[in-house]
């Protein structure tokens, strides 16, 4: 099984014939055929018991997952209260995230196995991007009928899904690449935006990509208008809508630099908006 997300190919395999590899519905749009080298090679195993816990904690998300130093590799433990103290899934990755091994606890994963299921898929892509490849933004991405990409950036509740629905209701010939998470990469001197499987409330996800023409920081208001801001403000606000690897100084430095370069090349403005067609006309 192979997925391609933002130009990154992830190959998943298992030598266990009892494991049927699968993905969720949004991710199925990112399945690709073919062989050849992948950016990441993952193997999956179903195991009766998990390895002993690691005591070399690097980062605890405070939620489902925690990252550990496991000698020459990384280890991500995934836990949920429903499954007791032991992780229900553990992923081991090489230091450059080019290869990995995912252990699925047999009593939890009895049927088809979504090896890349949250949080492995997004953590994996985030780590690959932060090693010189690009940045994931909390935003809605729309390809206009002119083929140019626009990003509408904001944290939860800012209006990303609302924006996506507005465009779908009022414009033909457009494509929403995600109503929640979009990747931006430097594609040979041109910034390009890529859809991801990680969607918002409207469950919009597409593997499509487009040249990035403009970025708008969403801000709900009583009237619609576009407001110019300084590059420094744009960079700071954009950084607040990334998914930084706080535990990795090199990755963090790259993300900051990447955001800085994007703000130098792509117009970034605030879109104060009311949820009606004026929010589309203001940026068209």
């Amino acid at each position: 099984m192979r997925l391609q997300i933002a130009g990154l190919t992830i190959a998943v395999s298992s030598s266990d014939p009892s494991i049927t590899l699968t993905v969720d519905a949004p991710s199925s749009k990112f399945l690709v055929d073919g062989g050849g080298p992948a950016d990441v090679e993952l193997t999956a195993e179903r195991v009766a018991s998990m390895p002993a816990p690691s005591d070399a904690l690097i980062f605890d998300s405070g939620g489902t997952w925690a990252l550990f130093d496991d000698g020459g590799r990384f280890r991500i433990d995934c836990k949920a209260p429903s499954f007791g103290d032991a992780p229900y899934k553990i992923a081991f990755f090489d230091r450059d995230y080019s290869a990995g091994r995912v252990l699925l606890r047999a009593d939890v994963f009895e049927g088809p196995a979504e090896v890349l299921q949250y949080p492995i898929d997004e953590l994996l892509v985030g780590n690959l991007l932060a090693r010189g490849r690009g940045v994931e933004l909390h935003c809605c991405g729309i390809i206009g009928e002119d083929g140019r990409g626009r990003l509408f950036v904001g944290q939860s509740g800012a209006g990303k899904t609302t924006t996506a629905r507005l465009w779908m209701a009022n414009r033909e010939g457009i494509e929403i690449v995600s109503d929640d998470r979009v990747v931006v990469r430097d594609a040979g001197g041109e910034w390009r935006m890529y859809g991801t499987p990680w969607h918002g409330e409207a469950e919009l996800a597409s593997p499509a990509s487009a040249p990035l023409a403009a970025i708008y920081l969403l801000q709900q208001a009583s009237a619609t208008r576009v407001v110019d801001i300084s590059r420094a403000t744009a960079a700071a606000r954009l950084f607040g809508c990334t998914f930084p690897l706080f535990y990795d100084g090199g990755a963090l430095a790259f993300t900051v630099d990447c955001i800085g370069r994007i703000t130098g090349d792509v117009p970034v403005r605030v879109l104060e908006f009311t949820p009606d067609v004026s929010a589309i006309e203001a940026v068209s």
Binding site: D24, G62, V108, F109, E114, T161, T242
Partner: protein, 57 residues
């Protein structure tokens, strides 16, 4: 000659005192601590038991 150079020199930018501004960052969103998806349940037994948290989009 020096005077001529002075005249050609662009107007000096007025000094602006550095200012610290705070911008919001939501750690629980930024670190991907919780799953937002709710459409994996059919093929994933794990999803049914997760204590998923939705923060909106």
């Amino acid at each position: 000659m020096e005077r001529q150079n002075d005249e050609q020199r662009p107007e000096k930018k007025r000094y602006e005192k550095p200012e610290v501004k705070r911008f919001p960052l939501r750690p629980e969103e930024a670190v991907l601590g919780f799953c937002k998806s709710n459409n994996s349940g059919a093929s994933s037994p794990a999803c049914a038991a997760f204590s998923c948290k939705s923060h909106g989009s």
